[in-house]
Symmetry: C2
Subunit: 335 residues, 2 copies
């Protein structure tokens, strides 16, 4: 084991920061450290937080982190991911607020990530960073994402418990996105609940939730026995609660943490905790496989050969499918 890895296990923050950079850059040292650290993972509760800009997500995450620090004395890591900014690796929204509330607490570690078009993608990078925090003894890891696209869904799949945050008055147009993102929600949060329109938001969420319900069962709990009318005979059913908060005033945070704890309890009792771990590690292995197979392929073929075949595609002499087939079968150029 490298000294750096041991320092991370010993709780050294500087070593942790350095190691995170190494694994994010996919350096040989980073990879070797990951192999050593992996046996120490599997102890954290991974909480995903997603929702549109303007819902006050960052403040909510800060308040949750403070709560876990003060009331439960748990070490908390925050991984803030912005997949909507693929070109510039800028700072994630709310970083300044975050720093004000949480800086100076050695039990909190904050890491911002932006998508950099890496081969494996942002979900994979996030998974790996999360493993480092897990091994380093962070009991609560909050993964915060902006938006509602496929990347967010992929990132949400990393978490044990996913919070979807809404706020009153963001416009009914946003409903369209909600339907998709709601299906990944384990706990729903209406933040800024002191604003007008909170009843409308709650009603809209309940309606969408009821519509989404049948799909949820089949998708999330495919191993369980369901009666025809949808009642759950195994008592394994989880219906996402709706929590109302005013994060800027710390209101509703205790109740939200209770919902999260109940969900963790539900996961453990139903066996879904293990199922989610399995799904997460399965995806990670497939992504790694893909990356490695591609790297080995490009190592195995001279660049001129690839360019030659690609030129045939550009000239419309060979379809991409035929081109790939001929490259892999070593019969490049033969149509």
């Amino acid at each position: 084991m490298m000294p750096l890895t041991q320092s991370v296990l010993d709780g050294n923050r500087l070593a942790l920061a350095r190691l995170l950079t190494q694994v994010e850059n996919n350096s040989p040292e980073g990879r070797s450290a990951l192999a050593d650290l992996f046996q120490h993972t599997g102890k954290s509760h991974l909480i995903g937080v997603t929702g549109a800009p303007g819902t006050g997500k960052s403040s909510l995450v800060n308040q949750l982190a403070l709560h876990y620090r003060k009331s439960h004395d748990k070490k908390v890591a925050i991984v803030a991911v912005d997949p909507s900014s693929p070109f510039t690796g800028g700072a994630v929204l709310g970083d300044r607020v975050r720093m004000r509330d949480l800086s100076g607490d050695n039990g909190v570690f904050i890491r911002s990530m932006a998508s950099r078009g890496s081969l494996g993608g942002i979900a994979q990078a996030t998974a790996i960073v999360t493993q480092v925090f897990d091994a380093a003894g962070y009991e609560i890891i909050i993964i915060e994402t902006v938006g509602a696209g496929q990347s967010e869904v992929d990132i949400a799949r990393l978490a044990h418990t996913t919070l979807v945050v809404e706020a009153p008055g963001l416009g009914d147009d946003i409903q369209a996105i909600k339907a998709g993102i709601l299906e990944i929600a384990d706990v729903l949060v209406i933040n800024k609940a002191d604003r007008p329109g909170v009843e409308n938001t709650e009603r809209a969420l309940r309606t969408t939730l009821e519509l989404a319900h049948p799909t949820r069962h089949v998708f999330r709990h495919h191993g369980q026995t369901m009666t025809v009318d949808g009642a759950d005979t195994n008592a394994k059913l989880w219906i996402p609660p709706i929590n109302k908060t005013v994060a800027t005033e710390g209101k509703g945070i205790v109740e939200l943490a209770e919902s999260i704890a109940k969900h963790a309890e539900h996961l453990r009792q139903s066996g879904d905790w293990t199922a989610r771990d399995r799904a997460r590690l399965g995806s990670e292995m497939e992504a790694l496989l893909q990356e490695t197979l591609m790297a080995r392929f490009f190592d195995s073929i001279p660049q001129e050969k690839y360019e030659e075949v690609f030129q045939d595609v550009l000239n419309r002499d060979l379809s991409p499918f035929e081109a790939v087939k001929s490259l892999l079968d070593g019969r490049a150029g033969v149509k």
Copy 2:
């Protein structure tokens, strides 16, 4: 060549619909047809349209399609993609409006797609559907996406010309997303321009545009010579124009079509048309390679062997990286 493929080239709509289903399902017939059709591609102008829900994107796309039909007598295909809905393959927003305006016109073909977690992903499926329309003689192909995540960016990369649609009064919170999505814009559209706040939206767009400018040059035009102050000595520079429209009343559509035509002209003169084709086909080939390598890998290894190694990962006895390495090197289980 299959009779179905010939029918598509002859302009048979029913054959086209059947073939699209086959290629979307990645059937052997679909693949074989693609190989035959590919030599007939490369003639269409691919126009990407993206923007948040509530901007009136669908109406705008309809109006553009009507314009290309009436004023230019061009065949128009619309590919409506909703990557935000990964679980349910529901209809894309605005389908009803669309049908009312465009149904009964044989020169327009509309195809809705939803992400279904296919191996290759929605961008790849869209690329292939686009190729079929291209071969079938649709001179204008409009690819419409909802949202602003990584999937939308990937899909935008398929297009020659990307329109980003905004609307007044959607809230300043949305600015955060704009910064990312603006970098892919070739033409900016403020739709619903008869609404209050249009000046604010325009000002915000101009400011963001100016901030984004230096990055654009480097990213988009890396082959060109630039003077230090950013002035373009080769006259190859494209600054995204801002078009104002009221799609529901057909206002500003002619001017928007002119901006799009100017951009196409710019692409051809600067050589960027070919560069974008190259980038698109390059991505497609890599995605196909990845898919094929994975399929061949899983064919080559007994499922029990894979499960055995995966179980070691679940037990934290082997890290995912070590597991992949041992699977590929045929030394599975040996740490």
